[in-house]
Symmetry: C2
Subunit: 434 residues, 2 copies
């Protein structure tokens, strides 16, 4: 029997216990595929009370982080603390102390990942983070190996299960946002405070990680334009459906020929014939556009202990396969940003738009709006004004031909300032995704 | 500059020239990601005439296979001949001669792959075949690495672009099979002789390869139950749609708890809400069911020179990354069937069925059919008999609850022998794919 790969696990919560349970359940499969068996030899958490339904030796659970880091028999630190500053310091100490690190920490990787990757490379160690994006969908390995021969021009996807569940419930059952979110909470699909999910922050974290890997620039959360789904209504979903679109919270990044990168998160109208449109519930999906493969779409469970454990264990197996001696450390170097960062301002975006206004129901109101759009060079593709509407103002929904974000924004600022304007205009973007 | 990985390419047709062009176009991307640059140093084909629009040194193109195999400077043989016996011998000679092999030859791998893999392992060489299944979709690497921690219970998918294009055209435009196939030929999506595609043989080849990798049994073409799409009519597609299903040619394999494996290819009714149902045109899609990840679906272009080149180049890059020194050769051993083959007879299948009969339009005809089904223990879920039908007989469409294949087959044999029977009954299977 070959010597084991010894793992020191820090953070023994939902995901940490999930990894221990998955390793226990699949031990035969895993150790049949790698030369060094994967063993968890130390577990650290502030809470050292016994965990039910999880097979581990209670003697290895302590709150002694220093002891774990100082233990020469720990080869890999598995960081599952869900913190930022503590996790950064832990990972830095592990890497400089000669240990490999596996983490599922998307917030950390999206904000300070490039620095940690440099520390890993400088210390000739591996820092693996497959579980930080897309849960059980093997995205990072696909980028580094499966489509490695391709020049990647774009990456986009549905990478927050909570927001997708909410939008799917609104679409399938006509629920409002609040009701859909309440249901998601009841089913365990939403955190008690779901704001990072519905406001797009979590999606932006993951997009920053993906865009950095795809384009080799150090793209961080701050570089991503973020709009959440909180203003999307059942009415918008119904209008979109009539035109053959689903509304999805997408993270999208693409690189232009001049090397500049556009990275944005917002609710998006996606044609129903596209694969992403039919990805419902808590599923995640990511599309990678390679110049040889064309679009490749990967769909799967983006969260939860078992899918996350699948990703974490695949990282541990990569280390246990002996690949850390060569290929894997070289792959680490590919994660180091190698090009200067050039973020394209959102104002320069060109796409099609869906805009909803609330206007006083007076003759000529629509004419004033269309005149303003025309003056800003925004061409209208369709106008809809429901025949029936209760209350004191009318909803107007306009879709545009391709237009420039800056022009649309200025036009809507102007519309919003009109005396006939009754609600802040809602802007959604339409992506045909050919 | 590190020493190059020298490739000897055998078979300089559509795919071979595609690889050379892709390597030329993406040289910077590829060589930026691997320590050893990938170089094509010899090309062999019976046709040595110049190839247009392809950058290669004419001096390296010859018909000298022996010379290529004898050249110690050729590290990898890239087999793209599309033959069986010639390719087998070529690959065997290359492996025993100390060279690695990359191939896109699905027919060869589905019929004699296990033997070649053993030769590779015995000679401590790699035989890589990512391009043999799913074109530009990185399936084999996903199985070996991305979902490596999972016990795989099932794999299924749309893995023939021609058949999928035909079914999509029939569905979207109401074309008949002949017309759809003619269109596919005109667009270059079907071979002059499309029988292997529409009769399911090509799908079965790829399924055999996938099932062998997923379940570790030596599953060959002969072990797969194969039905093609030639008897599916626009009427069936319309009926299925009314019930919320799309008809897709699926390859499906799953392993039961007793270790037996079921492998089948046939047109299948798939719920429209499932990802596979919306995969249209020439796209391929594969779903892998892992016990941790749950279902993971990969969608992309399954054929064509560029996607195929993407897969071939990813194999060459795996070799050029130095992984052949360790991890990759260990992965080869994972390809060797390790469990005795136990194929579950098709008669034992339990699923739901869609059956179409042509019956004489006489009173009591339907009653006779339902009586026979009932006697065989086949419960009916729905019966439809179009109100309008020209001609001398009536179409009757029956869907069943879950039933046993043997019972359904016996019942239909009995129905087919009735004097009122006017057409051979058509059987399609319904898979809910939860």
């Amino acid at each position: 029997m070959a010597s084991p790969l010894n793992v020191g696990l820090v953070g023994f919560g939902n995901i940490g216990t999930g990894v221990v349970r998955a390793l226990d359940a699949n031990r035969e499969v895993i150790n049949g595929r790698v030369p060094h068996p994967v063993e968890v030899v130390r577990i650290v958490d502030v809470d050292t009370s016994p965990r039910p339904d999880t097979a581990y030796d209670p003697a290895i659970l302590s709150s002694d982080t220093d002891g774990l880091l100082a233990d020469p028999d720990v080869h890999v630190v598995l960081e599952l603390t869900g913190t930022i500053d503590f996790a950064y310091e832990l990972i830095e100490r592990a890497l400089t102390g000669g240990k490999h690190v596996v983490t599922a920490n998307k917030a950390l990787m999206a904000t300070r990942g490039a620095g940690l990757i440099r520390i890993a490379v400088d210390n000739d160690r591996c820092l693996l983070f497959e579980a930080a994006v897309g849960g059980g969908i093997p995205l990072i390995r696909t980028l580094h190996q499966g489509v490695a021969a391709n020049d990647i021009s774009a990456v986009c996807g549905i990478i927050n299960g909570t927001a997708n569940y909410v939008l799917t419930s609104m679409s399938d059952e006509g629920l409002g946002l609040e009701a859909a979110l309440r249901r998601a909470g009841e089913l365990g699909y939403a955190e008690p405070d779901p704001s990072a999910d519905v406001e797009g922050i979590d999606t932006a974290h993951k997009l920053a990680i993906l865009a950095t890997l795809c384009f080799g620039q150090d793209i961080r959360l701050d570089d991503v334009w973020v709009e959440g789904i909180t203003r999307v209504s059942a009415l918008d979903i119904e209008y979109a459906r009539q035109d053959g679109y689903a509304i999805k919270l997408l993270g999208m990044a693409r690189r232009f020929d001049d090397g500049s990168v556009e990275a944005r998160v917002h609710p998006t109208l996606v044609p129903e014939c596209q694969s992403l449109a039919s990805v419902g519930g808590v599923l995640n999906a990511v599309r990678i556009d390679g110049n040889l493969t064309g679009p490749v779409v990967l769909i799967g469970r983006g969260a939860g202990p078992e899918p996350t454990a699948s990703a974490i264990l695949s990282d541990l197996m990569a280390l246990a396969s002996g690949r850390a001696e060569g290929g894997l450390r070289r792959e680490m170097r590919l994660c180091v940003p190698r090009a200067p960062k050039r973020i394209r301002p959102m104002a320069e975006l060109r796409t099609r738009y869906y805009v909803r206004f609330g206007l006083s129901d007076v003759p000529g109101a629509l004419g004033q709006v269309l005149t303003i759009l025309g003056r800003r060079g925004v061409s209208v593709a369709s106008v809809e004004q429901p025949a029936e509407h209760g209350g004191e103002y009318a909803h107007v929904v306009i879709t545009t031909r391709e237009a420039r974000e800056a022009d649309v924004q200025s036009a809507l600022d102007e519309v919003g300032a009109l005396p006939i304007s009754r609600t802040e205009p809602l802007i959604l973007r339409i992506e045909e995704m050919d």
